[in-house]
């Protein structure tokens, strides 16, 4: 009788729990006010990125030499650029380019960095030293030189931006994951798995890797912000996307000559970049808050 009572009580709990793993996240997420709204903004951005070509009121590539550098107006909500192209349309279509560039590059960086970090942290010894020293060198190595080399090898275009930014991301991810791995390696349940006779591969992927996922997600979202900035800095140095492409960074750097005469050409893409990066950072921060058990109140 009593046992039944206890059990039924627990099963009740578990039903609730099962349903709640997502909804628990949701409740917590709703409480992260800034991150919550930033998340909406990102979803909005993603929608724009996907449906950009449909949404854009004008052809983002179509010049109109009779309407150059027009300030925002009824016809052109964000004004026109130096060729008379509609800036709003360019931003909308550019969202897809900018976001996919940063997303892909961070993804590539994260995958490689995570593998390196896991191996480095788990096996230690010379492998660790090799990977860590290499990442030291990477940190000290000028980004620009690397970017030039990559552009030289791959030719100009978006791929090289992706590769360049990905390469810059690798050491950071490797370090982060290594740190997490070192901590997770000491966890008692990892020792328990070893005592059961589990192989290294099982320990790494089944036990350690999941431990690193949450900080990876957090870092990932923060890093997307950084990589939007990095890509636009590459444009600033003339190493980014194709000049005509409405990539945000390119718009920003091409427009900087007009800061005085037609500030909207710079300010609007700059603002869009700022807001997007901010949103990714806020979301990253929010995720960190709810994923890191330490910061639980």
């Amino acid at each position: 009788m009593e046992a039944v009572k206890e059990v039924s009580q627990i099963s009740l709990v578990s039903e609730e729990k099962k349903r709640s793993r997502m909804s628990e996240f949701w409740t917590k997420w709703k409480k992260q006010k800034t991150a919550f709204w930033a998340g909406f903004f990102i979803i909005f951005l993603l929608l724009v990125a996907v449906f950009g070509p449909i949404l854009a009121p004008y052809d983002p590539y179509e010049p109109d030499y009779d309407a150059i550098l027009q300030t925002p107006s009824q016809a052109h909500w964000a004004g026109t650029d130096e060729y008379g192209r509609d800036i709003l349309s360019r931003i909308i279509v550019g969202a897809g380019i900018s976001l996919s560039v940063s997303f892909t590059s961070v993804l590539v960086g994260a995958v490689i960095g995570t593998i390196l970090g896991l191996c480095s942290g788990y096996y230690g010894g010379w492998l660790d030293r090799l990977i860590m020293r290499s990442s030291d060198v990477m940190f000290a190595f000028p980004d620009l030189l690397l970017a030039i080399a990559i552009v030289a090898i791959l030719g100009p275009g978006l791929t090289n931006v992706v590769v360049a930014v990905a390469v810059f991301s690798i050491p950071s991810f490797a370090r982060l994951i290594r740190g997490n791995t070192l901590a997770a390696k000491e966890a008692v349940f990892v020792e328990a798995a070893r005592s059961m006779g589990a192989r290294s591969s099982r320990i790494i992927f089944r036990h350690i890797f999941p431990e690193t996922v949450s900080s990876m997600i957090v870092f990932f979202s923060l890093r997307i912000g950084t990589s939007i900035l990095a890509a636009s800095s590459l444009s600033f140095l003339g190493l980014g996307a194709k000049p005509e492409s409405p990539d945000w960074g390119a718009m920003l750097s091409m427009g900087r000559d007009y800061l005085d005469t037609a500030p909207h050409v710079v300010m609007i893409p700059g603002l869009v970049i700022f807001l997007s990066v901010l949103a990714f950072n806020l979301v990253g921060d929010g995720l960190r808050d709810i994923m890191d058990p330490k910061t639980k109140n």
């Binding site: 010049p63 130096e82 552009v151 190493l239 000049p243």
Partner: protein
Amino acid sequence: SSGNSPTSSGNSAAPSTSTAQETPSTKKDELVVAVNENFITMDPQNTGDALSSGVQTSMYEGLMIYDKDLKLIPGLATEYSANPEATEYTFKLRQNVKFHDGPPFNAEAVKINFDRMSNQENNLRAYRNYKYIKSTEVVDEYTVKVTLNQPFSAMINKFTTGIISPQALEKYGKDIAKNPVGTGPYKFVEWVQGDHLTVELNPDHWNKGAAKVAKITYKPVPENGSRVAMLKTGEADVIYPLPEQQVETLSGAEGVKVERTPSTITRYVSINMVKKPFDDPRVRQAINYAVDKDAFIKVVKAGYGAKLESLMSPTIAHYAKQGEYEYNVEKAKQLLKEAGYENGFSTEIWGNTNSDTMKGMQFIQQQLQKVGITVDVKSMEEATLSDEIYNIKSPEEAKMQMWYVSWSSADPDNAMRSLFSSENFPPAGANTAFYKNDLVDKSIKEATQSSDQAKQKELYGIVQENVFKEAPWIFLAVDEILYGKRSNVDGVYITPSGGIYVREAEIK
């Protein structure tokens, strides 16, 4: 001695904007010139970039001098004569000229300098021109005779190279590049690497009183916006170059003046004539018709510039206007059709990573799109670009199809021989269009061998006519030199070739 009274203050501090009060440059007797790049060397005989030589003109003088309009005027030589074959030049030197470090300027000094440049071992940039010198003779204290080993009429333009104090050459050796000592109106004070270079008025200059500013500081300020901001705040008194886009804002600003001069800089797209479909002159002409030069100047150059109506700037001697490929999309299409490219084709255009270049390339892309030519814009970092273009073994190997570029030259020889003579195909030279025309080759050669101005004019005319007709380029524009000054600055000019002319500098 400078005739400026130290109390004639306040004029640059006057502008009503609250900006300029304290900035050091507003002290009346000092001029700050902001330019867009770093200076590389102060050895006038080993200088390749316009900016370094622009700065050097304040300290160094050649036997001949370019004035602010790029006219040759007597410098350290008061007069000269050449034989008709253009192989012998005799100079009468100016007397009572002293180098900054003391010793007098004389024929011996000229010889030492010329010998230095014509000696291959010294590996100087100037060797390129002075290699034609067979010998330099000191006729007397103030007369030198230079004998060339072959006729070279353009040589007179090259005698503008600055003359270095032999004593300083002795003293510094290679380090003369950091310690310039010449005869010019300004003396070298200091050069802080990467930061600034300062010169002060030379009280013993032979043309004393022409320059009136006690001190000039040259500063590299690479970012356009910053340079303009400096002019506005009064941190800089002269800025060059002034980006076209910024002119408008500055024109309204108080205390600031925008100056324009036609430049020697031609802006064009070099077309690889070896490559299909550009081997067909109709295609090249079509492209020329397809590009609206007025729009180019309006959009890319913000309205500052002139259409390029020959292969060089009208400021250069023996310029012959050729008219223009008037913007005509129909005609372009027609020509393409005749050439068999009714449906257009795809090609690529190369250029460096400057934002101006990228702008220009995009413009070309947009224009050619209208006649069905799809252009892929590839901007490459300068060094990579030059590697791709010049480091090739034969014309067939060249990957370049179109190259958006500019060229600046001070004399017709340089403008034509380097770019259109068939001996100058890369890697040997800069004829990146691989333009080859025997008549043109011959005319260029003959022109260099004659000191007869009329004949030169005729020969160079032939060259210009042919080249323009065959369209190895998209002829776009002649840049305007745009520079900004504080309105109280006088007598400072940027020459059409980008030199900084301060021989009459004055602050009012």
